[in-house]
Amino acid sequence: MGLDGQGLATDAATVQVIATIIKFVIIFILCMQVPPLMVWVERRAPALMQRRKGPNRVGIGKWRLYGLMQSLADAIKLIFKEEVVPEGANRAFYHIAPIFAVFPAFLIACAIPYGHTMQLFGYTIPLSIVDIDVGFLFIFAFSSLAVYGVTLAGWASNSKYSLLGALRASAQMISYEIPLGLSLIPIVLIFGTLDLNQIVVAQSAWIWKWGVIKAPISFLIFLICMFAETNRAPFDLAEGESELVAGFHTEFNSAKFAAFFLAEYVSMFILSLLAATIFFGGWQIPFVPYHALLVVTGGLTWLASLIGFVVLILKACFFMFLYVWVRWTLPRFRYDQLMSLGWKFMLPLGLANVFITAVVVAAIQFG
């Protein structure tokens, strides 16, 4: 797929391009639903944990829908608010920063395999938006760009709180990117490929072949880094409302603030999808192999793919809930604790994990 210089004369290539666009639009729309829903979950779930009611009023007409429309009301409020640019802000970067924050998350979404390759109208369509053989590296490359949004936002808004938040965020994100990378090397070693779709296929429906069983330490490191990379509690020092007002987005308001919200929740969702893909068999249904699923669906590959897609989303939902769960369970780290955890614990653990896995894989392959 993609522009290969041969032109798009062939029919099949055109179909693939159209399919890519459709797939992107579907995933984009799906991702846009995540922030409102998550805001609702983030209010209702702690209310449940703390025996409160949480927002339960705003609904449609007489249906209250457990206060689900509260997020919609909030979104509308945010978008229609007056936009105030702080005095002395660097205007260009102040306006660009929210865009920088949002776009890496959506780009990463392009590399995740959402289901088994399907047959539709006689065409074979892969269910990742772009089918690249270095999906792993693609994800790393773009997740490493996420730090720019936060950094520029803090720097450009001409506020000491924002600047401190941005400095913390950039130091934190750089520090935790390294263990994140190290945690995934054992997976590459075990499955022998950088192609995410092949990793999912190799994990199969049997739970003992999943990444989390084969590389449990990797999963532990990945899980911790997931929280750190998205600046979520207990690693939300970049926001640190008790000391920094709201951290890097203190000076942002209206739609720009909403953009940071969107970026945070979408990257949480994408990392959840990634965790499910790499460690929990992706779209594989536990104990139901793909060929068995095909028998159930009567040979309809699109239906089987759709079921796989729903399964993947459900797995990701678990991680999304985990984010909220942890946020209301653990207190925030102190800055030096955060750094010593990253550099003195996670980095050596990650290196040891890579080394041991490499030795074991080599022993199995050559021994």
Binding site: K160, L167, L194
Partner: protein, 212 residues
């Protein structure tokens, strides 16, 4: 055809961004131009079907090195640079112009005015047949070029250790001199860097930026 058009678009943008890097007064803007530069270069790699190199390019340069640049710029709170009149004496200028024209001329003659197409054993198709980009790069890197590869990693290790040693020396002195005044135990070393930035911006009440 598409490839050629894309190449020219990328090349033009890279040139523009490179000019931006060296002409812009604000250091953060310059660093962001550098990011776009590296990003567009990755685009050219991707166009040559070298996905592995493209991803590594973004990951290492745009995602790590320039982030550190920006981190340092923010930490030092650098303002815009003063404009200086660059004086190039006439003979030097003449040499510069002539060599530039000569270089472009030679480049055009060597390529016959056409963008070069990949020649040699590793064409995109051959790479695909051999098992993909990563596989081919890995095979070459860890067999034929293993020795230079290991040597360069030793070099990087050397630089890392050297910088740690240099940083430690200063730290030891600083700790000795401040220990007398401080009765409270200081926070861990890693938190110092951010703490240090705070007084700079707090003392004058406002963070000073280029646009003011």
């Amino acid at each position: 055809m598409t490839q050629q058009v894309l190449f020219y678009i990328f090349a033009a943008l890279i040139t523009l961004c490179s000019i931006g890097v060296i002409t812009v007064r604000n250091p953060v803007t310059a660093a962001m131009y550098l990011v776009s530069d590296l990003f567009l270069l990755a685009g050219i790699y991707a166009m040559m079907q070298a996905h592995f190199v493209a991803a590594i390019q973004i990951l290492v340069y745009a995602g790590a090195i320039v982030v550190l640049f920006i981190f340092v710029i923010m930490l030092l709170n650098l303002g815009p640079e003063a404009r200086q009149r660059l004086k190039i004496p006439a003979p030097e200028l003449a040499v510069l112009v002539i060599t530039t024209i000569a270089f472009i001329g030679v480049a055009i003659m060597m390529t016959n005015g056409q963008p070069t197409v990949p020649v040699g054993a590793l064409t995109p198709k051959a790479v695909q047949a051999a098992g993909g980009n990563t596989y081919v790069v890995g095979m070459v890197l860890f067999t034929k070029y293993l020795w230079p590869f290991e040597l360069s990693s030793m070099l990087i290790l050397l630089a890392t250790i050297a910088s740690v040693v240099i940083a430690k020396k200063d730290k030891a002195k600083a700790v000795k001199s401040t220990r007398k005044e401080q009765t409270l135990t200081s926070p861990a070393a890693s938190s110092d860097c951010v703490e240090a930035a705070a007084p700079a911006s707090l003392s004058n009440g406002k963070v000073v930026h280029g646009t003011r």
